[in-house]
Subunit: 77 residues, 2 copies
Amino acid sequence: MKIKLTVTLKNGVLDPQGKAIQQTLNGMGFSNVEEVRQGKYFEVEVNEKNEDKAKSKVEEMCKKLLANLVIEDFKIL
Amino acid sequence: MKIKLTVTLKNGVLDPQGKAIQQTLNGMGFSNVEEVRQGKYFEVEVNEKNEDKAKSKVEEMCKKLLANLVIEDFKIL
């Protein structure tokens, strides 16, 4: 089954890429954009029919590879 | 209000980054990972209280800047 997840910078961690996007949007006329934060999104196809087991595997992958827990949070959707 | 969205490669568009992650996960012992697709995730803070209006603004931003509609799809969450 396919598990979807996001990896985002923790609150308080500077996000220069998001800031650049925000400034670009402002410059394009979207003046009411106050903040943009960019993260990563993954779809992981796991050969496992049990949803709980699949999610727990993906959680392990996040901790070991997909997210840097020092500066990032992950969320399994 | 904060609008969340994902931008993903269209089906059929090669995703070498996702492939590399999949192979790495397989090599780490996660042998039941069959496919990984990576996309982008954005949180956009818009100064607009009406949810429908905020989402329609963000949709316009996706079409004009955040997504390359030739190879990518976007989804407002």
